[in-house]
């Protein structure tokens, strides 16, 4: 590992200023960052530890929503009574990620900013446009079973690995960011980028932008939500495909629906085309199938991951069916 300076931040402004002045990374739980530093994928001059900034609270907002501190642990958030009661999609997503030991370290902000587990990105001996722009993509023409089927580019076909972020995309979460110019709010669905011709940029944030919180808006009464994850083994594995659905059905008609997909794109994929088909339509299987097909019309599978297209379709249809039938 390349030597680095360790700086323990004592306030948010100081953390941002330190990161603005030097080639820095923020350290929270460290479960992905430390691994990348061991692998040589990330080599900062200074590590700014934000663990002492008291950003780990989870509190109810006056509008009925929830503010989640950036360093709230994944395990604590998944066990929070309001999350368990009102946002089961988020609790399920968190609990389906990583292992008990990792969830006790991993944080909200760190989970959002974890990087792809594309094996070529993590192997410094292979070309990778995300790690070293301009060197090429080893996954295109290589082993690409885990990779993207939606929104990829000629430069990069990596997927975002988070479960939590997929649930938050379906919940219309807002990310509170403190940067050198002050505070701003970024809709979670706009936080992560598609790769385009700059696959090295995962998000719209710059180096000194510090996520301080994630806000969840309240959900209308009668809303149900669900997270369904499909993976190669029963536990402790990244998603091949995952589906987050937030749904309100009244009188047999879909009154409110938000769908996000994981494991299929460079970012948590908000399925707007599927939502357009569903909204105002009867909550029936034929509609669910049309919605899934509408979203997947844009899918461009790679040689090894064509199975993801029917897997998304079937997972989404079953999730919509179970939710509309009243199963969580």
């Amino acid at each position: 590992m390349i030597p680095f300076d360790y700086h323990r931040a004592t306030d948010v402004a100081g953390a941002v200023a330190t990161a603005d002045a030097r080639e820095a990374v923020f350290l929270a739980g460290g479960t992905n960052l430390v691994d990348r530093m061991k692998l040589g994928v990330t080599s900062p001059d200074v590590v700014v530890d934000i663990g002492g900034l008291a950003l780990d609270g989870v509190e109810e907002l006056p509008d009925g929503g929830l503010r989640i501190g950036a360093t709230a642990r994944n395990s604590d958030l998944a066990a929070h009574p309001v999350v368990l009661r009102d946002y089961p999609v988020l609790a399920r997503a968190l609990l389906s990620g990583a292992s008990g030991q990792l969830r006790n370290l991993a944080t909200t902000g760190g989970n959002l900013l974890q990087r792809t587990r594309c094996s070529y990105f993590q192997d410094v001996s292979t070309p990778c446009n995300k790690r070293e722009p301009g060197t090429g993509c080893s996954a295109i023409g290589g082993y690409n079973r885990q990779h993207a089927v939606l929104g990829a580019s000629e430069q990069c076909v990596a997927t975002h690995p988070s479960d939590m972020a997929v649930a938050m995309a379906a919940l219309d979460a807002r990310v509170v960011v403190r940067g050198p110019a002050g505070e701003r709010v970024v809709p979670l669905v706009d936080l992560h980028r598609l790769p385009g011709d700059e696959p090295d940029r995962d998000t719209v944030l710059t180096r000194a932008d510090l996520i301080t919180a994630v806000d969840l808006p309240p959900l209308p009464d009668g809303t149900r939500s669900l997270y369904r994850k499909v993976r190669d083994r029963a536990s402790f594995a990244f998603a091949l495909v995952s589906v987050a659905v937030v749904l309100r059905v009244d009188g047999g008609v879909v009154r409110d629906v938000r769908v996000a997909l994981g494991g299929v794109a460079h970012k948590p994929w908000r399925a707007r085309r599927a939502e357009e088909v569903l909204l105002g339509s009867p909550a029936e299987e034929e509609v669910f199938r049309r919605a899934a097909d509408a979203e997947l019309a844009a899918a461009r599978p790679l040689p090894d991951n064509g199975f993801k297209v029917p897997l998304v379709r079937n997972t989404l249809v079953s999730a919509l069916r179970d939710l509309s039938l009243g199963e969580r």
């Binding site: 590590v47 066990a79 009574p81 609990l95 990792l102």
Partner: protein, 167 residues
Amino acid sequence: MDGDVELDVDGRSRTLRVDSRTTLLDALREGLGVTSVKKGCDHGQCGSCTVLLGGRRVVTCLTFAIAHDGATVTTAEGLGAGGRPHPVQEAFVERDAFQCGFCTPGQVCSAVGMLAEARDGRPSAVTDDLTGPVELSDDEVRERMSGNLCRCGAYGNIVDAIQDVAR
């Protein structure tokens, strides 16, 4: 850069100087000689390096020691009390819940942390009712222990050992 770190390890106050790159795992093993904490994969995937950090189970390979000044660490060596092993350790012996033993200190620490989480009513990915009471079925134990690998394949007896303590 170097920094001084004070840790409470298994009830003893220990101070050491670490390079910023030193993981908590390497600080415990190489710096303090606490070799019950095992280095398996060194990438957070096997669970061999699990300890209780401030009472919660964590892997020590993915966290820098320099970030834990003042922390309390309990390893498998420090779980017992009054000259006796911890009940989970006794159950592992009774149930023959290991073969080579390399993963065992991490398994034991993880089990102790996991049982506390379940007692606190925290659900897992296989809990049907997120807001109901937690009942530790064998499936629950397997899911909650999925961060600890055993290449000898002692899983069946590990589940039995943990269930002996849970019941």
